[in-house]
């Protein structure tokens, strides 16, 4: 039962906050177009956390830039749509986009050191960002900012509003960035590797905070990471991106416990945190990511796949369902027997 549309679950798609459909994006370069995303499908059901996993160059950043339409000038939309609450972001008016960015969709960036303006106090920045709310006075905006700072775990929030970013530690700055992202009550929060710059103990606290906030506000989160441990810890669904294509998606349990794509399997095997026995010879994925200007014929992972066979080099596999809500783009994927 090969599906035409790879969807997380048909019923979830009906009530999706974000629904990316067959999205293909090229970047024009002197060498020719780079096919950065090809027929990407992804759904963020309301109130859930969806993780996107991919190594560098897999298209994670292009995907989230498309969701907010922050693509650079040399990007060319080849096809597909990014539906946010049913409306296509890629065809929105400038006015609608202004309402979208930072308000209906907000983002937490990787590096908390550069996400905040160093010459303004955080109170000023948190008041400024509420510029849309004309009905609210400055004092009320300050109170709202302080309330959110308290919620993300900043002690003495009213006093600390007067402090500048350099007066906070990295973990505190990331908490402030999260508070700022929540100020507009966004329908979707995009977190782009929010803990990469932090220590593990701080990372654990930020992940814990995101989970609490998600439960309190019933918010929908698109969480980008290359850390499989964090995805397992936080997400409901996971999408595995490889060289611009979604190779597998499903619930975290399905994908982590019964990976159906050889690339997902390889990623899980390579994670040193998952190796039971101590070894000096760590597993790797031999070979390199294919050149996205001259795409290989057939399956994108064929060159590096341990289970490659003739058909893989000739024919690009379709996305197939392996169980309800679990799909893989591989010739070998077939419906699983549910135990």
């Amino acid at each position: 039962m090969a599906a035409v549309h790879p969807v997380i679950a048909p019923e979830a798609r009906a009530d999706a906050v974000l629904d990316v459909r067959d999205l293909s994006i090229d970047f024009a370069t002197p060498r020719g177009p780079v096919h950065a995303l090809r027929e990407v499908n992804l759904t963020v059901p309301r109130g859930s956390v969806v993780g996107v996993v991919g190594e560098s160059g897999s298209g994670k950043t292009t995907l989230i830039s498309a969701a907010m339409r922050l693509l650079p000038d040399n990007a060319e939309l080849r096809g597909g749509a990014v539906l946010f609450e049913g409306e296509d972001v890629l065809r929105m008016s400038p006015q609608a986009l202004r309402n979208l960015r930072g308000q209906r969709i907000s983002m937490v960036f990787q590096d908390p050191m550069t996400a905040l303006n160093p010459v303004l106090s955080i109170g000023q920045q948190m008041v400024d960002i509420q510029y849309r709310d004309r009905g609210l006075g400055r004092a009320a905006k300050k109170r709202k900012a302080a309330e959110l700072l308290r919620r993300v775990g900043i002690p003495d929030p009213m006093q600390r509003l007067g402090n500048y970013p350099h007066e906070f530690s990295g973990g505190m700055r990331q908490r402030i960035a999260i508070a700022m992202a929540l100020l507009g009550n966004p329908e979707l929060l995009i977190a782009d590797e929010p803990t990469t710059a932090l220590d593990v103990t701080m990372e654990a606290q930020i992940i814990h905070l995101l989970r609490e906030l998600q439960q309190d506000y019933q918010s929908s989160i698109l969480f980008i990471s290359h850390n499989l441990g964090l995805i397992a810890e936080l997400c409901d669904y996971v999408v595995i991106l490889y060289a611009g294509t979604v190779v597998e998606q499903g619930t975290v349990r399905d994908v982590f416990h019964r990976p159906q794509h050889p690339y997902t399997e390889a990623l899980l095997v390579c994670d040193p945190a998952l190796l039971q026995d101590v070894t000096r010879e760590l597993p790797t994925i031999p070979g390199d990511v294919p050149d996205l200007v001259n795409l290989p014929r057939g399956c994108i992972f064929a060159e590096r796949c341990p289970r490659v066979f003739e058909r893989c080099r000739a024919e690009d596999p379709a996305t197939r369902w392996v169980s309800a809500g679990h799909a893989a783009r591989c010739h070998l994927a077939s419906p699983l027997e549910r135990s």
């Binding site: 190594e55 560098s56 530690s169 990295g170 973990g171 505190m172 220590d199 593990v200 103990t201 701080m202 990372e203 654990a204 606290q205 992940i207 814990h208 290359h226 850390n227 499989l228 441990g229 964090l230 995805i231 397992a232 810890e233 975290v252 349990r253 982590f256 416990h257 390889a266 990623l267 899980l268 390579c270 994670d271 040193p272 945190a273 998952l274 190796l275 101590v278 070894t279 000096r280 010879e281 760590l282 597993p283 790797t284 994925i285």
Partner: protein, 329 residues
Amino acid sequence: MTVLLDVKDLRVRFRTLGAIRAKLAGVADPFLDAVLDVSFQLRAGTTFGLVGESGSGKSTLGRAILGLTPIESGTIRFDGMAPMGLSGSALSAYRRNAAMMFQDPVASLSPRLTVKALITEPFVIHGLKDRDLDAEARRLLDMVGLPANFAGRYPHQLSGGQARRVGVARALALEPKLIIADEPTAGLDVSVQGEILNLMARLQRELGLTYLIITHNLAVVRHICDEMAIMYMGRFVECGPTAEIFANPGHPYTHGLLAAQPHPDPDRRRQDVELKGEVPSLARRPSGCEFHTRCPRAKERCSTERPEPREIVPGQTLRCHYPLLDPAA
């Protein structure tokens, strides 16, 4: 096995204010200790892991061993000689034997030099004029698994993994005995991370290298280090064989760090965070045990009396009044 590096009671302090400004500001002690009372031995041919959060002093310790940061007190013995206080040709000889692999390979490579110039620069710096630099470049590239035609490339033409290999080649150029690697895998994808660590393991087997690896990635330490130390605010809070520490962490901080590692299994989600808050400022060291402000097991004694290092199990030393493993308890 012979001891290659023997560090005793090492202390590194930084001045935070100049003498006059400190006097004007009424600061009696304008210093902070980045490394305090650190003693350990590194046996030849083994790998030692230094673990800790940012600001714990692990990079400073690595730099101090190479003489890149002056030490306040303590001794360092390397291969039977005392490199501290050396200068001129003796210091240069020491630095040939102990090399550094810096954090962030792309930033630590000059963007205006080719790979060949980068990996043969150590020969130029050390005045080894008789070397055939082309041949050396080919030999080094081959050693780290890069094709010979990479010699003409510039750093921006390299991927993260390739830049890291160039960093390894540069460190290997003068055939050192010890390599200090500062975060050798930070920023790399998991598959590439494995390649770099396997390369380092192979070179260790082939060349008999000794590694001091500075990292915050505990999953990596578990696989590649024979011994390890956990640093907190400049001190070793726990030190011993890696396998023992992972099996039976003795210090509550070690336990907390291990618990903070995310586990890639959705069925093993943690309900709570064990280590809350963050590392206090080095300028305001807590009294007693420095960890008592965050320690889930802290009792009154911990805030007044500093624990001295104790060997709880043979080979495993830790600083804690109430360790998690106590054969007496």
